[in-house]
Symmetry: C2
DNA sequence: CTAATAGTGTCTCTCAGACACTATCCG
DNA sequence: CGGATAGTGTCTGAGAGACACTATTAG
């Protein structure tokens, strides 16, 4: 038998295969706090419970795992998040009562303003603050997935400006610093923070200014390549 | 219908599910070079080609994904590697001709001496240097998996002593530095390297010494917690 | 003017890089 | 002694932390 014959005869469904899902921990920043998107489960198991957005791969629709999670997130938010990153994969025989199950989990960031209208119109989806989610039982092992995403994002805020993707397209340096401070859980030195940004040349100066109270603040935009930039020296934890 | 009834009726195999495999990029260090374990494929597809060790989840045998890859690696090396870490998961409709396929890939490290006997006795497994593997077509997308593992390990050698797990239980500081140098691809300052190690308190001084030529070198052992330690400042790339 | 927030100047301290030095073994 | 490798002393420079300072708006 050659490979062609083997493939022609091969019946994928003749073998046991674990359930495969994708899940996403989608963060945003609004009103001085981090928020995470959760959805109410419409079906068993854990029907009625809240959990992370996600679901089964649709082999006919999804070309890749990332397409699958982006499709799921778009269903809830109306848009594709500007930052997404694979977090981890959990697979075992006990996380889903239906059987051996594997979930590929992603961390994503989005601006609150960019999707608030859509989320308000989706009955079963809402933002909760990270304080709320930490005291809330989620479906399956989604509390653990959230915890890992939260921890990774905290680490990232020490050596990258990835958290900036939770802000609107255009933002002030003070806003960017505040997101980092909330993630790290301590205040940062304004000077250190700005020195790093300036040297790394990660932002586009829009030339515009915004004023609320006090001196108007310069507005910046993230360079697309900022998503991958890593400072060689961490901020202190 | 309640959840119990739903679960009783649920037939996992009634739904399409991607193929799920685990793969491992197992590194070791021997004769001043990094090596990777590859195995010859016994079955279609890609029969006869070399690829990374791995394979399907065995739902009856494996409780978790990590158990699955450790089982696969133990089959080839005879032992459980002292360091293993999830690398990434690739899933799409084109990587495996049999259908939509997901692989969860791990990076692992092992001492050459600890498993050489077993590998020599396994017909279809062998070590190849990283120079060799980079010019070798591997099955599926295993070249890409290797590349990602190699890149991550290089990064890790800038801010951790994870590469030390590719050495025997007991080693000299010069040996440890050499592994890092090979991974990073440039020589390091002896003083900087040792200063970091000393401050972080990651090693156990065995009190023993080993001499080849010249002054005898002190022998050290890795503390188990060294696997998770991260320096706050990177070595320069 | 004051209040408020944005943004800068500058000192200290830690730690990586560089490199010369000393130490301990062999023959 | 010299050759080889292990290990240290010490200076420089980059960059984070700290914090006081100036700048620009509103009222």
């Amino acid at each position: 038998m050659n490979e062609q014959e083997y493939l022609a005869k091969y019946d994928k469904n003749a073998y046991l295969s674990p359930l495969v899902t994708v899940d996403g921990v989608l963060f945003t920043y609004h009103e001085e706090t981090l928020k995470v998107l959760i959805v109410e489960r419409a079906n068993y198991p854990n029907k009625g419970m809240w959990g992370l957005p996600g679901g089964f791969i649709d082999e006919t629709q999804d070309k890749t795992l990332e397409h699958a999670i982006l499709r799921k997130l778009k269903e809830k938010t109306g848009i594709i998040p500007p930052y997404i990153e694979q977090l981890c994969t959990i697979g075992n025989d006990s996380r889903d009562k239906r059987g051996w199950s594997v979930t590929v989990c992603y961390t994503a960031l989005i601006a609150y303003q960019a999707c608030q209208h859509n989320i308000d119109s989706v009955e079963s989806a809402k933002w909760v603050t990270i304080d709320e989610i930490e005291n809330m039982p989620l479906a399956f092992d989604h509390n653990e997935l959230y915890r890992q995403a939260r921890e990774r994002l905290k680490q990232k805020s020490l050596y990258s400006i990835v958290p900036g993707f939770a802000l609107p397209d255009v933002f002030t340096l003070t806003e960017l610093q505040r997101v980092h401070e909330v993630l790290i859980g301590k205040t940062l030195q304004k000077k250190s923070f700005r020195r790093r940004l300036e040297q790394a040349d990660l932002l586009i100066d829009t030339g515009e200014k915004r004023q609320e109270t006090g001196r108007p603040a310069n507005l910046y935009r993230l360079k697309p390549e900022s998503a991958d930039y890593r400072f060689i020296r961490n901020l202190e934890f």
